[in-house]
């Protein structure tokens, strides 16, 4: 099981636009990726490609989240997704 911790960079948190970008990218990965707030049990983790789950996390700017994935390409997938979370998309 590969695991990464990322800090939400968007100033508005995981709102509609950053959540859309992230959910789409998660859906494109070859492996299933989950997302949870840091400190939450792995069983509580949600589907990272679900925009509704992402918005329901209530992650604000600076919130730490844990991404997890298993199988071939898991590490590369997580690296790509961490990069997206740590970019402030509202500044673009």
């Amino acid at each position: 099981m590969a695991e990464r911790i990322a800090t939400i960079a968007s100033r508005v948190g995981l709102h509609a636009r950053p959540a859309s970008i992230f959910a789409e990218a998660a859906a494109e990965q070859p492996v299933e990726v989950t997302i949870a707030l840091e400190g939450e049990a792995p069983e509580e983790a949600l589907d990272a490609s679900s925009i509704l789950s992402l918005m329901g996390l209530g992650a604000e700017h600076g919130t730490k989240v844990v991404l997890r994935a298993e199988g071939d390409g898991a590490d590369a997938a997580l690296d790509a997704l961490v990069a997206i979370l740590e970019t402030d998309h509202d500044a673009e």
């Binding site: 636009r17 789409e24 679900s50 509704l52 329901g56 209530g58």
Partner: protein, 572 residues
Amino acid sequence: MSEPIQHDDARTFAGVGVSAGRVIGSVKRMPDPVAPPADGDPIAGGATVEEESERLKQATQAVAATLKERASKATGDAADVLKATALMASDRTLLKSATKLVASGTSAESAIWEAADAVATQLAALGGYMAERATDVLDVRSRIVAELRGVPAPGIPDADEPFVLWAVDLAPADTATLDPAKVLALVTSDGGPQSHTAIIARSLGLPAIVAATETTALADGDVVFVDGINGTVTRNPGDAEARLAEAYASRTELPAFDGSGSLADGHPVPLLSNVGSGEDAAAAAAAGAEGVGLLRTEFCFLGRDQEPGHEEQVAAYRAVFDAFGGRKVVVRTLDAGADKPLPFLTDDSEPNPALGVRGYRTDTATPGVLARQLAAIAEAADGSEADVWTMAPMISTPAEAARFAALCAEAGLKTPGVMVEVPSAAVLARQLTAEVDFASIGTNDLTQYTMAADRQLGALAELNDPWQPAVLHLIKATADGGAAAGGDGSPKPVGVCGEAAADPALAVVLVGLGVATLSMNRRALPAVAAILKTVTLDDARRIASLALAAGSAGQAKESVRAQLPDLETFGL
């Protein structure tokens, strides 16, 4: 627009024109709202769980594809929101929980309804921005159910070509999503001149007809001529209508308002704006408004369980005063009751709230709120450059006017006034204005009370028209009363702050009747200013006497419009 015109089936439907303009276009009907499926409704028609799950999946994908397609054509924030809603429609977590319900025998419609409800409730609990997104989830849910039922998606229809929107009536939520680039005109079978449809049409400058009862017969794709000036809709229009629409399309663009209202002879008619918040006030100032003729203070109070505190009120009023430093701001004290109930102030069990304890009258039933509001207005006025005037709504007798003036004096407010909305106030205007410094006529309520016709009832739209000569006579009585109350000194000024002031033809009549200032939605300023510039004070008086002599609202409007050729030039 380029559809062939058929002459054999022309038919004209009558309604009430609430926003000028003449266009020809094809009709799109606003779909009926999606009715909720029965709770736990079972899978119908012997379909298997697998077939039902597949049907649900197909519907979510179809809705996602439509929204994605719309997102690709939109720009900016609208594109972001549409893209996010498209993702919501095909959301795997949502589909998974709905599919689980289908597996237990629930129909696809009922399953997605329930699953989305759970998500929306969760988002609403997060509050703020996320709570607003809960509305998007519910919208997506309605779209999926409409898709499953094979009926049109709810909300304002989408089309590549601009169209004439037909609806029973529009709610505020519909008007928020109305794209003025896609909608040519609005036609409703219900609603009246003060309905949301009318207000949004005027603010967007779209031709609009309301209370056109028989237009329920119009179908999608019908070509119609919408005449917002005469209040008619003609199906299958002919050459005459085509010429009128062309004339409107080639109208002269209105010049921007230069910030100084006056007649052709230089007689000044200050043009002010009606505002309902600090933001609104800044926009009105930018549009050239010479002041605020009506500050609706309800924005501080509505949707509250408790009276807002002193500091909060001071800050809210100050924001408006700051936008109009050095200019006049007329504050209306809290106008609760009737269509604006407040839990701490009004009694919702009244059998007839329009004739109940509302406006100034709430101070007798619940003393204190008004005095505290006046204290907040006084403090906000003290620290600002604005010339603050204060008036009470729903004043009916000179004694009430006197008492309000005394309350203002106690609070340290120097210019007290009254609104004239109740016919008794217009009839006794001289005695009433003698007690205060000014009066402002609220034509919406004055019309409703003079004609005994509920503002909200589409069926009474014809009566509920400020062009009714009886209403014009009461406006004249008020202006005359204000002039007489001044005695040898200067007359007590009488203004108008209702929707009537935003109608350029009626504005000329009002000035002719002796009204000193006009206050309106800021978007009406250019049209009213341009038409006032075409008449002298003598012209306005002569035109007003034509309206007073008319036997009906229609006749008054027609005879006045015939005197103002520039209305046609500007397509008003």
